[in-house]
């Protein structure tokens, strides 16, 4: 009986000790660790997305998007993080987009009329459609739709990416674009 008790006590101590070490040490270390949001692992290929209107520039993948931030298919970012209080950026994955008519798809995705539509091709050959629309309180919205593939309908695993930038109409556009680039730089959009 005594040998069982000693053995059980020893093994119980090992189980509780290792369990507490793994959970407790991680919680403790996390609580005191400085925040460093950038992903240091250059794990994926990235490429710059070019637009004829250069409304959007950043790291966007040429086919398919997968990012933690877009886990729920949408993510919003505030320009305040890069020093522009009034700029907001929204990324959204869209499925079942009519890739044959991206201009109509862009208007449909935004549920509003889009002006100044321009189409272009990304460096990797994806269709890029960009336009702008007026927003309340003197803001302008600039939207871009990147449509992978050239079929009739974008497959669910090839979702289109909608990028919407909301900024004051009076803002310096270069500063806005710089802010957008900074925001996009901080977003992990990978292929």
């Amino acid at each position: 009986m005594g040998s069982y008790l000693r053995r059980d006590a020893g093994v119980s101590a090992v189980i509780l000790g290792v369990g507490a070490l793994l959970t407790g040490s991680a919680f403790d270390a996390d609580a005191f660790a400085p925040d460093r949001p950038d992903d240091l692992v250059g794990f994926y290929q990235r490429e710059t997305l070019y637009s004829s209107t250069d409304a959007v520039a950043g790291y966007l993948a040429p086919e398919g998007w997968e990012t933690t931030d877009l886990g729920d298919s949408a993510a919003a970012y505030a320009g305040i993080e890069v020093g522009l209080d009034d700029v907001e950026l929204e990324l959204k994955l869209l499925e079942e987009v009519d890739a044959a008519d991206p201009a109509a798809a862009l208007g449909e995705a935004l549920s509003r009329d889009v002006e100044g539509l321009e189409t272009a091709t990304t460096a990797s050959g994806l269709a890029l459609t960009t336009g702008w629309f007026a927003l309340p309180e003197g803001h302008t919205g600039r939207a871009s739709l990147v449509s992978p593939g050239d079929g009739d309908t974008v497959e669910p695993d090839e979702a289109a990416l909608l990028v919407v930038v909301d900024y004051p109409a009076t803002a310096d556009e270069e500063r806005v674009l710089a802010a957008v680039r900074s925001l996009l730089d901080s977003v992990e959009i990978v292929r």
Partner: protein, 326 residues
């Protein structure tokens, strides 16, 4: 040969430590069960699939373990540990370590680090507890393989239920939640079936072999256990790595190849564990004055299994082999 009688489980300190951890884990987070009230349709789909996967896993284990010397109560304890303690506590440890790694700039690969480290460790602690509770039964690598498989199965099942609930939460309406939960469960059932069971059967076999090793081969036993644990960590980590390419074909090929490697590695460990079972039976046969089995494959003969279980029972109860097989 007469050993001291084994105290009943209810008088073992370790048994109550395990039970206590089960209770505490449920107190910390029982959403996998309570969510069934809020999403009954999703729960129906998830638990139906759990039954299917559980039956398939047990059938596979039944085929793999010809002698089935392990005790039913400990087998149940192993499944509960995997599903309740390991899955629950590892999830919290993963969150904490994942946050730390993200702060360190390793967000892309945090899951590939946290999941193997925490989950394989917590599952193996359960195997350790059950193996020690099974003493004085003669330990072989197969004991660790079996209990590891059961701990891993418990983990697999509850993890699949959690994923099914997550899928159901993204849609509204009972029918849609049923469909979402079913799709998630079937996907998990098909892709990655019993992976946790495979990984933990490998680490469990190594641990049991180390615990059973004699004084002369103890270091070799622990080195082997460490090697198998490392192998499971690497395989698990590869599974949790983000896709290396956007190409669906290459992603699918990677999954297929990795699954094949996991299955082959588990099969190799199983084959080696069978060898340990045969050595046990050969020793018993010589002691009893009967013909030893010629190969590992003869372990599936009913008389071999029955004789071994009787000897096992005699050792455990301390009644002597003659009484045990009498």
């Amino acid at each position: 040969m007469s050993a001291a009688a084994e105290p009943p489980l209810a008088r073992r300190l370790l048994f109550w430590v395990v039970v206590g951890m089960l209770v505490v884990s449920l107190l910390i987070d029982a959403t996998v069960f309570t969510d069934a009230v809020e999403m009954p349709e999703a729960a129906l789909a998830a638990w139906l699939t759990v039954v299917v996967q559980g039956v398939l896993a047990l059938a596979l284990l039944g085929l793999a373990d010809p002698l089935r010397r392990q005790r039913a109560v400990l087998a149940v304890l192993a499944v509960l540990w995997g599903g309740i303690v390991a899955a629950n506590v590892a999830a919290h440890a993963n969150t904490a370590l994942g946050s730390l790694l993200t702060k360190a700039g390793l967000a892309s690969i945090e899951a590939a680090i946290t999941a193997p480290l925490n989950e394989e460790t917590f599952k193996l602690l359960g195997v350790l507890a059950v193996l020690v509770l099974s003493v004085p039964s003669r330990l072989t690598a197969m004991d660790g393989f079996v209990y590891g498989f059961l701990v891993g199965t418990g983990f697999d099942l509850i993890e699949n239920v959690s994923y099914a609930y997550q899928a159901a939460l993204e849609v509204e309406g009972g029918d849609a939640q049923f469909a979402a939960a079913l799709a998630s469960s079937v996907d998990r059932l098909v892709q990655g079936f019993a992976l946790h069971a495979f990984w933990t059967s490998m680490t469990g076999a190594g641990l049991a072999a180390a615990l059973a090793a004699g004084r002369g081969s103890r270091w070799r036993g622990w080195l082997l256990a460490a090697g198998l644990f490392l192998a499971a960590l690497v395989l698990h980590s590869l599974w949790d790595l983000p896709a290396l390419s956007a190409s669906t074909a290459s992603q699918d090929a990677f999954v297929v190849i990795l699954t094949l490697v996991v299955v082959l590695a588990t099969a190799a460990v199983w084959r080696w564990s069978l060898g340990g079972e045969r050595r046990l039976v050969v020793a018993d046969s010589r002691m009893l004055g009967v013909a030893p089995p010629a190969s590992v494959w003869s372990l599936w003969r009913p008389e071999v299994g029955g004789r071994t279980r009787a000897v096992e029972r005699a050792v455990r109860t301390g009644t002597g082999i003659e009484a045990g097989i009498g």
